[in-house]
Each structure stands twice: as structure tokens, then as C-alpha cells.
């Protein structure tokens, strides 16, 4: 950049007073700041003993769940919108004809590779029936890759586990909130 460019707005460095030149404010401010922080409350969360506080579990993007409707059936209609929306291609659905009269299809199998997932929440956005949701479960661990591929039963069990603490958002679509 040219220093004689007329569009540059030059700011004069504020001149130090006598005390500033004697390093006094610097000395005092530096030490008082560190001393204050030395005794101030700590922000670290001691994780396994202490759970991190999730501000709003309804919008947190953790482990997925497959919601059940009022009769306990899976809500999913196997429309493949979530699998289409997924940028990581981690959702695999096999849809078949539904045994129930209120819908045409339902998922025979519904698997999510939790290791591939980037937890962007696009599936939740795409779902027309609020069947797939991201919960606030944040410590997802496993001992093998196979274990981390969640099938329909596992995803429904996540719903059973979290339905009381995180109700389904939309009442219009059969939600409980």
C-alpha cells in the first residue's frame, strides 16, 4: 500500500503522559489484571464429573433420534428428503410399503453413520414430518466403527431416552410441545 494514498486516514498515536512514560500505569494495570483473574471464578468444565451446560437443548445439534408418533410408531415416511439434504451422505434409508393406512411408505431400515455425520442439522431442517431430530446428547463414544452406525432401533431408543427432557417442537405435526 502506498503511504501517500489520499484515502488513508492517518491516526496520531496518543502521546503518553509523564506517568505513562514512567511505566507506572502499565505496571499497575498489568499486575492488577492478572491478580484479579488469578482469583476469579474459573470457566473450565471438569467434563466427566461435571456436565457442560447446554443453553437450549431444543436447538442443540447432538446425536440424532427418530421420533415416534402418538401410537409409538416411527414417524418417518421414508421420503428421502433428509438423505438428499445430507451434505455428508451419512443417512441410508430403505423404504417399503407402509402397513398402516395413514401413509404410503415407511422405512424398513434407517441407518445413520454417526462418524460421518457433521452435525449440521440439515436433515432436521429437511424433514417434512419432524421425524428426525438432533438431541442435546453430546458425548457420543464407541469402541468400533460398526458400533457407531446407528440403525432404526437405536435411533428410536435415543428418542425414548430423550423424549421427556426434549419434547418434539411442533404440535401441528403431532409434537408434544
Amino acid at each position: 500500500m502506498r503511504t501517500d494514498d489520499p484515502s488513508i486516514r492517518w491516526i496520531e498515536e496518543p502521546s503518553l503522559g509523564l506517568s505513562g512514560r514512567m511505566f507506572l500505569p502499565l505496571f499497575v494495570q498489568g499486575l492488577t489484571t492478572t491478580a484479579r483473574h488469578l482469583f476469579s471464578p474459573k470457566v473450565t468444565v471438569s467434563f466427566p464429573e461435571e456436565r457442560p451446560k447446554v443453553d437450549n437443548p431444543l436447538i442443540y445439534r447432538g446425536v440424532h433420534r427418530l421420533n415416534r408418533d402418538a401410537e409409538g410408531r416411527v414417524k418417518c415416511v421414508a421420503c428421502f428428503l433428509c438423505a438428499t439434504a445430507c451434505p455428508a451422505h451419512c443417512i441410508d434409508i430403505v423404504g417399503t410399503e407402509s402397513p398402516w393406512p395413514d401413509r404410503e411408505k415407511y422405512p424398513a431400515s434407517f441407518t445413520i453413520d454417526e462418524l460421518r455425520c457433521i452435525y449440521c442439522g440439515m436433515c432436521e431442517e429437511a424433514c417434512p414430518v419432524d421425524a428426525i431430530e438432533l438431541t442435546s446428547l453430546l458425548d457420543l463414544t464407541g469402541r468400533s466403527r460398526e458400533e457407531m452406525i446407528f440403525d432404526k432401533e437405536k435411533l428410536l431408543s435415543v428418542y425414548d431416552q430423550t423424549k421427556d427432557t426434549e419434547p418434539m417442537p411442533s404440535a401441528r405435526l403431532g409434537g408434544t410441545l
Binding site: D4, E13, R21
Partner: protein
Amino acid sequence: MLELFAIPLVKIVVLIGALMTVTAYLVLLERKMAAWVQDRRGPDRVGVPLTKIRLFGLGQPLADGLKFLFKEEFTPRHVEPLLYTLAPVVTLASALAIYAVIPMGDTLPLKIGASGANLSMVVAPGCDVGLLYIFALSSIAVYGVILGGWASNDKYSFLGGLRTSAQMVAYELPLGLGILGVVLVSGSLDLGKIIHQQADSGLWFAFTQPLGLVVFVVAAFAEAARLPFDLPECEQELVGGYHTEYSGMRLITFLIAEFMHMVTVSFLIVILFFGGWHFWGLTGSGPVESWGQGILRIGVLMAKVFGVILFFMMVRWSWPRFRFDQLMSLAWKVMLPQGLLNLALMAVLCEPFIAERIGSRHWGVFLLISWAVALLAWLVTALVQPSGPENSPQRVEPSI
């Protein structure tokens, strides 16, 4: 025979063992302090090995040591092998050898051997050139660092080594000038005698030589390469500085030596300027008479040193690092003249002919003059403001 070999040997073993342990735990304390200042908790997980007992992370030094022990000791092909191996040894050996003349207290009333004297808390008691010895060895420690940087044969290490040599040359002068004032007044280079001098008068040199204290402390920070003067190894610019190419035990040797410099310098600050083991109305001033007194003196000295070390650790997070030219101008344009002034002042105030006439034999007058001169010197420095080259972008009038 016993006095000549056995006692010093026991002292050396105890001292080195204690120093290594204390250094390890001071590293933990440093990490804890760093964490607390940054609103974190610091290492608190490692406790007793193989159990779930955590003990506030007190097992961390052991884990750190083990980690370094089991790390691969990698020697890059492009280094100068002999010097590369020698460098950490030189640094650690000189850092440890300094402690031969540093008193860890006064004496203990434990009569051993034929002389019937008290057991001294120094490995080499009565060393008349103690301060000279310390200076000689700390200069050798600098060689270790420079060797390490140069023998590593890469740019970052080399720059770290160069910066170290420049910085040490610059700050050895104010460090020496700060000490010279003390030596002039106390009339001895023996650290034990310097402490006794302060204990007898009850007036620590920090009070009588404020200018010397400031010069010495600033130079000590620079000598120990602690922030805000840690240019030789600032991570943001030089990766690791002179020890970039080191790993495993060689690296930890460097790190321990460096940490020990800080402890040494803390001892020196306390002994030279803050009365060593002396505290008014608590430790007495004469020779040690009882066990309680002897142990109390050790305790007071250690407490003071610990306080100075805490100050070192606080300073690390309090102020930003100097630029290299600022560092140099601080050494040559501020610290050197002030050190010289302090030396001249002490010489004038202690000269019998002058002292007789201006009354500086009386401690009140002495204090008044030295503090007035110190404040005046500081004020003049602030007004003159000798600084490095002005290299910030300057305003240019538009040419069109």
C-alpha cells in the same frame, strides 16, 4: 576427612535431589498459575499412578518426566553431533553448580568434625568469591545455549542462539552493576556475609539501594530469559528458539536448566536485596544459637524466594514482550546509565570523607538521598525517553 568429603557430598546429594524435585513442582505451579490467570483450572487429573486418586494434579510432574524419558531422542543428521550433545550438559551442569555457593539458610547447630563449627547450609561455606563464581558459571550457561542454537544448524535455533548471546551480553552489564552497589556497601562477595550484614543493620539493601534493585531485577528477568524478555525462545517467532531441534531427555535438560536460572536469580534477589534469611523480630541477627532459630531462618529464606518466584510467574502474564530493539535500548540506554549512577551514588555515600560531611553515616540520611536520586533518575529517564529506532509508518503528504 569427614569434613572434607563426607559432609559436602551429603549436602550435594540432598541439594540436587531437592532442587530437581522442587523444579518439577515449580513447573506444575507455573502451569497452574498460567491456568488461573487465564481463568482455567490447570492440570488437575494426574495423581497417584494406577489409582483414581487425583491429589489436585500433584502427579503431573512425574507424568511429564516419564513422557520426556520415553520420547525418542532424535538427532537430526544436519547437526554438529559433539556440540549438539554437549550443549544441554553444559547448561544444566553450570545451572546446578551455581548452587554450591548459594546459602539455603544460615547454619544449623549440628557439630560435626574437629572444628566444632555449626553445620553451614551452603555446600561450599565461606567461599569468598561467591558472587564472582556465580557470574562465571552463569556466563558458561549462556555458552550452552549458544552452542545448542549454533550446533543445531537450522535457522530458528541459530536466531535463538544469536538473540541469546546479544541479550546476555547486554544485560550482564546492568546485572553486574546492580550487584556492585551491594558489594561496595557490604564489602564482601560472600553471600553469607552479605546476608549477615543486612541482618546486623536490619536495613535490607532493597531499601537503601532502590535504583540498584530495579536495575538488578530487570536484568535478572532478562538473564533468566523470562517474559517480557524471552526473545531467545519466543514461540510465536522462533518455534522454540535454541532448543527447536532437541527432543526427549536433552530437551528436558535444557528446560530444567532454564527453570533453574529463574530459581537462582530469585535466590540472588532475595539474598542480595531482601535480607536473605533475616526478618525483623523473628530470626535474630547473630550466629545461630538453637535448632528452632536455624530452621526458622531456612523457612524465612525459602518463603521469600517462593514469593519472588510467584512474582516471576505473575509477571509472565502481566506484560507484553519487548521488541528486540526495545530490549536493547532498554539495556544500553536506560539500565546501564542507571546502574552506573547507582554505583557512583553508593561509592559517594560510603566514602568516609564525604559521609562525614553530609551525614550519610546515619541511615535516615542514606535512605533519603538514595531514594531521592532513584526517583530523580527515573523521572529524567521518563522525560528524555531514550527509545529504539522509530519504525512505525510515517505520514506522507499526498503528492498530487
